[in-house]
């Protein structure tokens, strides 16, 4: 059996003396009757305007959820720190970085996908999917995002491991915190904060690598030749990482982040949350007390291991609360204690409130898939999938050419010496492939029109002209369109056709101006 933590303060003493605390903390006996209609009135203690932060020194724990958390941490940090270094061959005309936000050239590369600024709706679509995805995950498995994948959670976890590595486990850290500032403590703190800074620097450093060629920027950065904005960004993100992950930690989740508030509105009695089965655990009592009076006491032996391991420092036995990020480390802790004292696992467990009540009534537990597969989850899943499929479809059928036309307005038309009319246009030809492409420009729906450009002289005017657009660029072409005498003002279109086997086309409607006398 695991002994109650000696360094842990008594339940009633956790809050500051002049602070409003929940009735459960003020009076532990009251917490045992959460569903009791005769719950005592909240205690009004003299109030303070700020709640002083109580440092969280969470204890080391191992278990299946901790291992899962390790795996998610490895995966997410691996992606974050490693992605800029992945290479992806796009040929000689485009960068070979797999994930690159090329702000200077206004391109966004993601493996085989290249997004231009005018296609930003793909990114907007991804954001819509991210939002819906959060709804979907919340609906299916509760605050799993908060508990495992949120950067604040992952980096806080990382920094807490650093604490444990430098200062030892929970009790040692509590003692060190209270100890006077000796040279030993100063050295330890300096060492720890140096590691904090190193992690922060790596985080900020990895961020800027997404915006430029990673190996080049890496070399330039340490050679002092990178752009000033790179140093500024790294400095800001380093400080931000150290502040948010190293010092503010759970306060970000409890006070700063809007997401827990939104989740509070999204959770209901059918949502999967980490919950303490009070009907099974209460009244709490040590193993010795329970041996004397087995009928009176519940399964909770009040060892406070669930509190000791909690990364946000809450007591899950007070019920669902905004500080619970559902990381399930308390489940790991409680399961170990239950195994030690020979009681069934799951006193603290992932469960819905509805299931808890059913279980309390003695009904058979529902299959886990029924908890997850409910109409709301399915609806969110379908919408999420529909958005995803439409994005994929749009990505699959998107055109890699573009054409915009702007007619000259001064002068709108020109009488030529043969009596014919000429209009001038500025064409913008967009080639979104990473290779130079030839295009044929034709005039569509303007009888007798011939076309020449700023590079093809009037002598070579013809109904169609061929131009080459450099790889991954927009080329501006001045186009001159001449028509036989007597042509009236009318609408027509320019058509762009690629000369490669894809035969991609783009069409742009515009207007041919003529003198008033030529109007029909």
């Amino acid at each position: 059996m695991t002994a109650p933590d000696p360094a842990d303060p008594a339940p009633g003493a956790r809050g500051q003396p002049d602070q409003q605390v929940s009735s459960a903390v003020a009076d532990p006996a009251a917490a045992t009757r959460r569903h009791d209609p005769h719950e005592p009135e909240p205690v009004h203690l003299p109030q303070s305007l700020v709640e002083k932060r109580a440092a969280v020194h969470n204890k080391r724990i191992d278990g299946r959820f901790r291992r899962f958390k390790w795996a998610v941490m490895l995966l997410t940090l691996g992606i974050y720190y490693g992605a800029p270094w992945l290479r992806w061959n796009r040929g000689p005309y485009a960068p070979d970085q797999a994930v690159l936000v090329d702000v200077a050239n206004r391109r966004f590369y993601m493996f085989g996908i290249e997004i231009w600024p005018h296609e930003f709706y793909f990114v907007a679509g991804l954001l819509v999917m991210a939002g819906l995805g959060l709804f979907l995950v919340t609906s299916a498995v509760g605050r799993a995002w908060c508990g495992y994948a949120c950067p604040q959670t992952v980096w806080t976890d990382l920094f807490q491991h650093v604490d444990r590595f430098v200062d030892g486990d929970r009790n040692a850290r509590i003692r060190l915190d209270a100890a006077p500032w000796t040279w030993g403590k100063v050295t330890r703190r300096a060492f720890k904060w140096t590691i904090y800074l190193a992690i922060g620097f790596a985080t900020g450093g990895a961020w800027v690598l997404y915006f430029a060629d990673a190996p080049t920027l890496w070399r330039d950065f340490f050679a002092g030749e990178a752009a000033p904005i790179a140093y500024v960004t790294v400095a800001i993100l380093t400080l931000m990482t150290v502040t948010l992950g190293g010092f503010m930690r759970e306060q970000v989740c409890i006070y700063m982040c809007p997401w827990p508030r939104i989740q509070t509105a999204m959770l209901d009695e059918k949502s999967l949350i980490v919950t303490y089965k009070d009907w099974r655990g209460e009244p709490r009592g040590s193993v010795k007390k329970a041996e004397k009076d087995p009928a009176h006491f519940g399964d909770c032996i009040d060892c406070r291991q669930c509190v000791a391991v909690c990364p946000t420092g809450i007591d899950i036995r007070e019920g669902p609360q905004i500080g619970c990020i559902t990381c399930a480390l308390c489940i790991d802790a409680c399961d170990r204690v239950m195994a030690d004292v020979g009681r069934p696992r799951g006193l603290i467990d992932y469960a819905t409130l509805e299931d808890c009540e059913a279980e309390a009534r003695g009904e058979a537990p529902r299959a886990p898939w029924r908890t997850i597969l409910r109409p709301r989850t399915i609806a969110y899943g379908l919408i999420w999938g529909a958005v995803g499929l439409s994005l994929l479809f749009a990505l699959g059928v998107r055109s890699h050419v573009g054409l915009t036309v702007s007619p000259d307005r001064n002068p709108p038309f020109m009488v030529m010496s043969d009596g014919g009319l000429r209009n001038s246009y500025t064409l913008k030809l967009r080639n979104m492939e990473s290779r130079p492409r030839g295009f044929r420009i034709t005039v569509d729906g303007l009888p007798g029109a011939v076309l020449w450009s700023d590079t093809v002289g009037r002598a070579d005017a013809a109904a169609a002209q061929t131009v080459t657009v450099p790889a991954d660029q927009t080329r501006t072409v001045r186009a001159y369109v001449a028509v036989p005498p007597g042509t009236t003002a009318q609408d027509f279109a320019f058509r762009l056709t690629s000369l490669d086997p894809q035969h991609e086309t783009a069409r742009a409607r515009t207007h041919f101006s003529a003198p008033a006398g030529n109007s029909p």
């Binding site: 020109m414 010496s417 001038s424």
Partner: protein
């Protein structure tokens, strides 16, 4: 503040007013706010010393940094001028007719020429270069050139002007007035013939004879004009000063001839080149054809 008291919840004194039981706390300024305020005072003192601040009788105090927004502008202009020198030097090295070989330089020249055109040329030729038929300013967009439309000819025109007073190399020609030379019947016949050159009227034998005797020397037998003399083509659809019978009669009796200033001493050679490139790019520019040394070879005989 007779009624001021200490608020028990916050420990702060109230201001002493009460409205229906609502009281106002006299909370002291936050320390950070006060320090920020003091900091702004310190900053203001420093600013007054360093920058122009106090208005005096005719100007403000200068400040020890001697800064002025006018000086900033001058620096910006210098920097812009510096940035242009590369293009200017490149332009002065390349003969103007070779400019199309270097498409990047040509594009820069056209862009620079567009800007210069808006400053120096739009007053007569219009912001789109369309000219004015009423005032006789030629349209620069079309393919009809009085004095030649290749890059070198345009540059020559820009440098030396047309009938520019006091300039020796300027393009010079003069059409004599025919006031009192023809009787009314001859005049109408001649106008008929001029219109017939571009198919706007029936052929007129008498007019053709008058044209051959009086006009063909400059305007050519078929009315094709002459770029050497700046004599306009009469057999095309473009009429600098109008194509009505009245317009033609007025131009024969008392011809008006355009004047363009020589820009040689007003603009630097690079800007003139840029202007030539821009005008050439408006759509009517012709390819430069190297002229043979023999002056007898006429290059200008386009249909």
């Amino acid at each position: 503040m007779a009624n001021s008291r200490i608020d028990p919840a916050t420990g702060t004194e109230t201001v002493g007013h009460e409205w229906d039981g609502i009281e106002e706390l006299d909370t002291p300024m936050p320390r950070w706010w006060l320090w920020t305020f003091y900091l702004t005072i310190v900053f203001a003192i420093g600013y007054v010393i360093a920058y122009p601040a106090w208005p005096m009788v005719d100007r403000a105090t200068k400040g020890v940094l001697n800064w002025s927004s006018r000086g900033d502008l001058a620096r910006d202009m210098d920097a812009a001028e510096q940035a242009r020198t590369g293009v200017h030097e490149a332009l002065s090295r390349v003969p103007v007719e070779r400019l199309p070989d270097d498409s990047a330089l040509l594009a820069q020249a056209v862009a620079g020429g567009r800007a210069a055109f808006q400053v120096h040329c739009t007053q007569c030729h219009g912001s789109g270069g369309a000219g004015s038929q009423r005032l006789g300013y030629p349209n620069l967009n079309d393919d009809d050139w009085l004095w030649g439309g290749d890059l070198r000819a345009i540059e020559f025109t820009l440098v030396n002007g047309i009938r520019a007073p006091g300039h020796d190399d300027t393009r010079q020609s003069q059409m004599p007035p025919f006031e009192g030379v023809f009787d009314p019947v001859q005049m109408e016949a001649l106008i008929d013939h001029v219109l017939a050159l571009s198919g706007k009227a029936e052929n007129n034998r008498q007019g053709a004879q008058i044209f051959a005797d009086n006009c063909a020397a400059c305007h050519g037998e078929a009315g094709g004009g002459s770029r050497a003399l700046g004599a306009p083509r009469l057999n095309d659809a473009i009429w600098l000063r109008g194509s009505t019978r009245e317009d033609i009669r007025r131009q024969i009796l008392n011809p008006r001839m355009g004047v363009m200033p020589a820009w040689e001493n007003r603009l630097d050679p690079a800007t003139i080149r840029m202007l030539a490139a821009y005008v050439h790019s408006l759509g009517g520019g012709e390819d430069f054809i190297a002229k043979a040394d023999d002056p007898a070879v006429e290059v200008d005989d386009r249909p």
